[in-house]
């Protein structure tokens, strides 16, 4: 596991660097707050309503599809590493897996789940 220690060190250095930069600059920057400056930017017009409004459900659909396909991609990594040892068996198994996946993909297309109009 020792080869992971430098990654952890890098994480700590990166957090230190990012936090330090923000911290240091926030110590020296000027702050002259007033109500107009602090209102959220809407091209100079008074902000209308709350910013966190409802948005189109399409984004959720993309997120769900992403999880499905990403899990499939995760299964492909260990398969790809051990592919040479698995031989023909591994090839056929994964071809079946990808074909089943592709059927699901065609279903998505036919359901127009990927249309944006």
């Amino acid at each position: 596991m020792t080869e992971y220690v430098p990654v952890l060190l890098f994480l700590l250095v990166a957090i230190g660097f990012a936090g330090g930069t923000i911290g240091l600059s926030s110590l020296i920057v000027p702050r002259r707050r007033n109500a107009v400056k602090n209102s959220s930017y809407e091209c100079g017009v008074e902000p209308v309503g709350d910013a966190l409004q409802r948005f189109t459900v399409k984004f959720y659909l993309v997120a769900v599809l992403f999880i499905l396909f990403d899990i499939e991609a995760v299964f492909l990594y260990p398969w790809a590493v051990t592919f040479r040892r698995l031989g023909l068996y591994g090839l056929i198994e994964m071809a079946l897996f990808i074909v089943i996946l592709f059927v699901g993909y065609v279903y998505l297309l036919r359901k127009r789940a990927l249309e944006w109009d």
Binding site: P6, L11, A14, A18, F55, F66, D70, R84, Y105, W116
Partner: protein
């Protein structure tokens, strides 16, 4: 004290820290001058001269810009979620930096921080975390443009992550390993980009890399003509600076990975082993120029075009490429 120094663990941590700090400094230098190069190249592509006032040829421009950002007033909009508002720009930089811990710059142990047997997975994991910076930054700003930018970006980045992950698999099939050092070693005689499926995978990887780093023509999260500045509309001072740094650090780290996976890493003719790292940096510079070149050549895609390209072109193409590569690798193992 002497006994402490001779402890192998202490030495390992010490040298790892030295390498990390060198990489961090080098990265900051490269980012500064990549921004300068981008402005200069963009200038010449548009028949201007680019920055030329600060120092000879404008070479001190990045220093002036950083100093300016550092002393700029910062303000937090009313109604913003303060904690997340501060964490988001940090998240933009940290994952991009951590990727460098597995990049092998040269054949020697001294030229890499560490060699993980799952190095490629670390890169993919970190590029996934990068999405959070933009989503959280957009959401916590309490600004409509920022929220729209964040939403667009989350959908765009996760959509392009799929073909990016799939375009790495042909390389794993050819190399039989997830360790980046091992992948480069396998390319000693023949770079993966010089095979038909490797070339296709490289093309898919570079297109998705443009989308993952939110660079034009995929810069919809910050499309200034429609979303003001997208997810970082409300960011100022060094918090904006970190988003900016994160974008360029991402470009550099993704280019490093592209060089490692497809362009043979440090492998190249003529140079002795001690200077092989020069090849790595030459290839890296070529890819960075490619990023700049594309940005100032192509117009931005429309949102439905962007999603169609990701889901209907790149994803099936990458999946088919995986199957074809697997069949070819199996066929070769038979003969």
């Amino acid at each position: 004290m002497a006994a402490f120094w001779h402890d192998p663990n202490v030495r390992m941590v010490f040298w790892a820290l030295v390498k990390i700090l060198v990489i961090l400094q080098a990265m900051l230098g490269v980012v500064s001058y990549m921004i300068y190069a981008e402005r200069k190249i963009a200038g010449h592509m548009q028949a201007r001269v680019g920055p030329n006032r600060v120092g000879p040829l404008g070479l001190f421009q990045p220093i002036a810009d950083v100093a300016k950002l550092f002393f700029k007033e910062e303000f937090i909009p009313d109604g913003a979620n303060k904690v997340i508002f501060h964490i988001a720009p940090m998240l933009a930089v940290i994952p991009a930096l951590i990727v460098f811990s597995v990049v092998p710059f040269g054949p020697q142990d001294a030229l890499r921080v560490t060699d993980l047997n799952v190095g490629l997975l670390l890169f993919l994991a970190m590029s996934s975390i990068g999405v959070y910076a933009i989503v959280l930054g957009g959401w916590s700003s309490n600004n409509k443009y920022a929220l729209l930018g964040g939403l667009r970006s989350s959908a765009q980045m996760i959509s392009y992550e799929l073909p990016m992950g799939l375009s790495c698999i042909p390389v794993i099939l050819l190399a039989g390993s997830l360790s980046l050092v091992e992948i480069v070693r396998m390319q000693e005689h023949w770079w993966f980009v010089a095979t038909p499926f490797g070339l296709l995978a490289f093309a898919i990887f570079m297109i998705t890399a443009l989308a993952e780093t939110n660079r034009a023509p995929f810069d919809l999260p910050e499309a200034e003509a429609e979303l003001v500045a997208g997810f970082h509309t409300e960011y100022s001072s060094m918090k904006f600076g970190l988003f900016f740094l994160g974008e360029f650090a991402n470009v550099i780290s993704i280019s490093c990975i592209a060089v490692t996976l497809f362009l043979g890493g440090w492998n190249g003719p003529w140079l002795p082993d001690a200077f092989k790292f020069v090849w790595f940096f030459l290839k890296l510079a070529a890819l960075l120029f490619f990023f700049i070149w594309v940005r100032w050549t192509y117009p931005r895609l429309r949102y439905d075009q962007l999603m169609n390209l990701g889901w209907k072109v790149l994803l099936p193409l990458a999946l088919a490429n995986v199957l074809v590569t697997a069949i070819v690798v199996w066929w070769r193992a038979q003969g």
